[in-house]
């Protein structure tokens, strides 16, 4: 009789095995940081001020832990091999939040980029890719950003001389920035607003986005206006900087 009772108890347990529960998803608002981009002094001694920066980014993903293997379309996939998720993977680093779609990010004008979603947890980094501006993005054909990835406008000063500049650059479609710092705790019931930053100066290593760009040498006609087009050597220096997570960041807007 006792054995039967035990068996009945076990059978009853079948009904109390709980349920399969997905992780809690929290809506997150992503906005562009409105802080002035400021002035950066480059390795060549130029004080560079960026008045406006516009970058077309696509498919933001927010990651928890182990940023080394965040992306399935890894920028170094040619070197590291293609990543395939597999049951049992628990090493971390997978995206657990996202804001999919195309966005023209305008610094320091600010503005909302949209509502994403994130699982509850502590976030360390963010990844995103690049696109080319289209009319559907609200960028008209007469806009210098049209059909390009980024457009930066500003001024550089050195030894009392001043140059205004415009810089246009393109990024490869498969290029992604991986591991932009995003120290953030996402908790249930307190949807955060995340601000997207562009840093002229790498906050860790101190190098600047315009290191190696000699504005005086680029001003061949001496009129004080410099225009850098995609593919030019100086444009490529900035392009490399904009491929690095070091010049981007995300923070919680309180």
């Amino acid at each position: 009789m006792r054995a039967l009772r035990c068996l009945a108890a076990l059978v009853a347990c079948a009904a109390c095995g709980g349920e399969d529960d997905e992780a809690v998803r929290v809506p997150v608002q992503v906005v562009v940081a409105e802080d002035p981009l400021g002035t950066a002094t480059t390795d060549l001694g130029y004080a560079v001020t960026v008045e406006q920066a516009r970058v077309v980014v696509v498919d933001m993903a927010f990651t928890q832990g182990g940023e080394m293997h965040a992306s399935l379309t890894h920028p170094l996939s040619w070197l590291l091999g293609v990543a395939h998720a597999h049951p049992g993977h628990t090493a971390g680093g997978e995206p657990t939040g996202e804001l999919p779609g195309r966005h023209v990010v305008r610094w320091p004008a600010g503005g909302a980029l949209g509502e994403g979603v994130a699982l509850v947890g502590r976030y360390d980094g963010a990844d995103f890719g690049f696109g080319r501006a289209e009319a559907a993005d609200g960028v008209m054909p007469d806009d210098p950003l049209f059909d390009h990835t980024a457009h930066l406008r500003g001024a550089a000063e050195k030894n009392g001389r001043r140059w205004t500049f415009q810089l246009i650059l393109d990024q490869d479609d498969e290029r992604r920035v991986v591991g932009a710092p995003m120290p953030l705790q996402v908790t249930e019931g307190a949807p955060p607003t995340i601000a997207f930053h562009l840093y002229l100066v790498d906050p860790i290593e101190g190098d600047t986005l315009f290191d190696g760009v000699d504005f005086a040498a680029l001003d061949a006609d001496g009129d004080g206006d410099v225009t850098l087009s995609p593919g030019e050597s100086a444009s490529n220096r900035v392009r490399r900087g904009l491929q690095s997570h070091e010049h981007f960041g995300f923070s919680e807007r309180k």
């Binding site: 709980g18 992780a23 940023e67 091999g81 049951p87 628990t90 591991g179």
Partner: protein, 674 residues
């Protein structure tokens, strides 16, 4: 098939009647008592339970071990996934598995480090199954970070004799086994051939496999004995995808479906070993030489089109490996109450492995990995067992493991060599404060070798990939530190209660992550747990047992639970082998909720298995029912991103995926002793 089943059913009573008229039923199976294990976490499964428990593979028998949870996230033929004491041991990364002392884990396997495939081990030839949980014995080697499981091969006395077994079951399963086990030979002398065909209980789960395993004494003189073991195995099997739980709940797919068709795998093995037992009473010696050829092919896709929206993420993994090894164990008792032992082992293996990206039609579209390498492992274990007083026994020692690699990566054109050394101390204390009480305590360090690929991986931070946490770094041995204490009480003969607590700390778990193809620092983890057991033998022909394992496994830094590992695991078994010829078993598994990565939870389950059999003379009929209650649950639950339905937006957010457990399965078997 129906006609055959009908004929078979009609033949059973006739066979039984014939047996009644002839010789009486054989004596019941020997029910081995629970031998006092050397550690609190040590367990031995009796041969009656091994013989009677419904199982499809030898891996299923590992699920009888307390605190061990076994998952098949493919189909029969692919290696299983193991969970032990709060470890997600993947395909064997944290569980050392040995058969007759031969190492079965495959270091640096293309699919998973320490991959275990017991397809060659015909279940009828499993004579014994023993687990040492924790890393507390000096003989525990590579991959023994959570536990070591030892299988012994043979046929117990009551089952001996040559016999033929034919089994049919739901899902079109047919299984034929021939067992050679001369009655006048010892229990270790036996051979079997097994052939299995099964349509599988879900989509893409059909499989066919065959295995042959044999062990025999070639020569014996006094204490000296020369024994050979040989095994061959080949399997082809389908490979289902995991299904998204949200798709199942929305009715878009069934839990037993697969998103992709045509994914499949194959595995084969040839294994040979020679063992010499010799020496004298003062100097017993065991020497073993072995060689193995192994092939594995897995064509899988877990993520759909997430990584490659055009071709998909299907990929083919291939591995071919040849290994040779040796093992030597010498013991000596220089003085009364002190016994010393020395163990030496070595293994050298050449491996060629590759991973190709395939399109949906199975055509290669790229090479992700192409490696050839040598890997070597040598170990020296020195141990002593000392009994200073009659009621106290101390055992301890240390082992030194040396790993060597010579790796060539044909994709990155990198090559490298590396050598690593790890020293692991182990200590056990056993005390008998009374006739019926046993106190057990143990501590020790377990180890896991690095994968060969780590030798040619990035040695430092990869620019633009890492933020801070991971520093790349060189290949390193992962170690786990264990401590445990337990108490056993036997109030009357045949009744045993046991309780134990354990703790495990991994300060710096480093794994070669095959998502990123680099070394990943996982950070420190700790596991604390409680194990309870009770066993009762009301008669020589019956044994009842129940055990429970509760474990809390967490990352030390942020207290997150270690994903996948069940927090509660209860196993109860009742086995009867009556002298009348009737035998039966009922086994229950109670699985608590499982934390999955990033806060998701997989439901627990209670699963009952049962078997009933009757032996009459030279015939026995068995009916096995797996999952008697037809519980619907996900045996394997995971949390990752996938994109199968391209009409829906792509999302990189992880979602709960599962591999459904088998629904109720009924199998009927007939055994004929020749």
């Amino acid at each position: 098939m129906r006609r055959f089943l009908a004929a078979l059913l009609l033949s059973i009573p006739a066979a039984a009647a014939q047996a009644h008229d002839g010789e009486p039923a054989d004596t019941p199976l020997r029910v081995v008592g629970h031998a006092p294990p050397p550690t609190a976490g040590g367990r031995t499964v009796d041969d009656a339970t091994l013989a009677r428990t419904p199982r499809r593979t030898a891996e299923d028998l590992m699920g009888l071990l307390p605190g061990v949870y076994v998952v098949q996230h493919g189909s029969e033929g692919k290696g299983h996934q193991f969970y032990v004491r709060g470890f997600d041991a993947l395909h064997g990364a944290d569980v050392e598995v040995r058969v007759e002392g031969l190492p079965i884990n495959e270091p640096s396997n293309v699919h998973g480090h320490g991959y275990v495939d017991l397809g060659f081990l015909v279940p009828e030839l499993v004579l014994g199954l023993e687990a040492t949980k924790g890393a507390v014995d000096v003989d525990q080697g590579d991959f023994g970070t959570a536990a070591t499981v030892d299988f012994t091969v043979g046929v117990p006395r009551a089952e001996r004799g040559h016999r033929l077994i034919y089994q049919v079951g739901t899902t079109g399963r047919q299984r034929a086994v021939g067992v050679w086990a001369p009655r006048d030979a010892d229990e270790r002398t036996a051979a079997a051939v097994e052939v299995v065909q099964d349509d599988g209980y879900g989509a893409e789960r059909a499989h066919r496999r065959g295995a042959a395993l044999g062990q025999a004494t070639l020569w014996r003189r006094g204490r000296a004995r020369l024994e050979v073991l040989g095994a061959a195995h080949h399997a082809v099997f389908g490979l289902p995808t995991a299904v998204r739980v949200e798709d199942v709940e929305a009715g878009r797919v069934s839990a037993l479906d697969s998103y992709a068709e045509g994914l499949n795998g194959g595995a084969s093995r040839l294994l040979g070993a020679v063992r010499f037992d010799g020496g004298d009473r003062d100097w017993p010696i065991v020497a073993q030489l072995w060689a193995q050829h192994r092939r594995l092919r897995l064509d899988e896709n877990f993520t759909g089109f997430l990584g490659d929206a055009v071709n998909g993420d299907r990929h083919l993994q291939r591995q071919r490996a040849q290994a040779v090894g040796l093992r030597l164990r010498v013991q000596n008792a220089p003085v009364h109450a002190l016994r010393l032992h020395l163990g030496l082992s070595g293994r050298s293996e050449h491996v060629a492995q590759a991973q190709e990206a395939l399109d949906t039609a199975g055509r290669p579209v790229g090479v992700d990995r192409d490696l050839t390498f040598w890997q070597h492992h040598g170990a020296l274990a020195l141990g002593a067992r000392w009994r200073p007083w009659r009621a106290v026994r101390l055992a301890g020692g240390a082992r030194v493991d040396v790993f060597g690699f010579d790796v060539e990566d044909h994709v990155t054109a990198r090559a490298g060599t590396d050598a690593l050394v790890q020293v692991s101390p182990r200590l056990q204390l056993t005390a008998w404060p009374g006739d019926r009480w046993t106190l057990l305590a143990a501590a020790g360090r377990g180890l896991r070798s690095p994968e060969a690929r780590a030798v040619v991986g990035p040695k430092g931070p990869v620019e633009d990939v890492s933020v801070a946490r991971d520093d790349g770094g060189a290949a390193a041995v992962t170690v786990s530190d264990h401590v445990e204490a337990g108490l056993r009480y036997e109030p009357v003969d045949g009744l045993l209660f046991g309780a134990g607590v354990f703790g495990v700390q991994i300060d710096r778990e480093r794994v070669f992550d095959h998502v990123s193809a680099t070394n990943v620092e996982q950070g420190a983890t700790r596991r604390v747990g409680l194990e309870l057991e009770a066993q009762y033998r009301p008669a020589a022909w019956a044994v009842l047992s129940v055990d429970a394992t509760v474990v809390d496994a967490r990352f030390t830094a942020d207290d997150r639970p270690v994903p996948g590992a069940p927090e509660l695991l209860v196993r109860a078994d009742a086995t009867v082998v009556h002298p009348s010829g009737w035998s039966g078993t009922v086994g229950a598994l109670v699985l608590g909720e499982r934390p999955v990565a990033y806060g998701a939870t997989a439901a627990g389950a209670t699963v009952l298995d049962a078997a009933l059999g009757h032996r009459q003379g030279d015939w026995r009929v068995d009916v096995e029912v797996e999952n008697l209650l037809d519980t619907r649950w996900y045996e394997g639950a995971y949390h990752f991103a996938s994109w199968w339905d391209r009409d829906r937006p792509r999302s990189v957010l992880p979602a709960l995926h599962g591999f459904a457990a088998a629904p109720r399965q009924v199998r009927l078997g007939v055994t004929w002793w020749l």
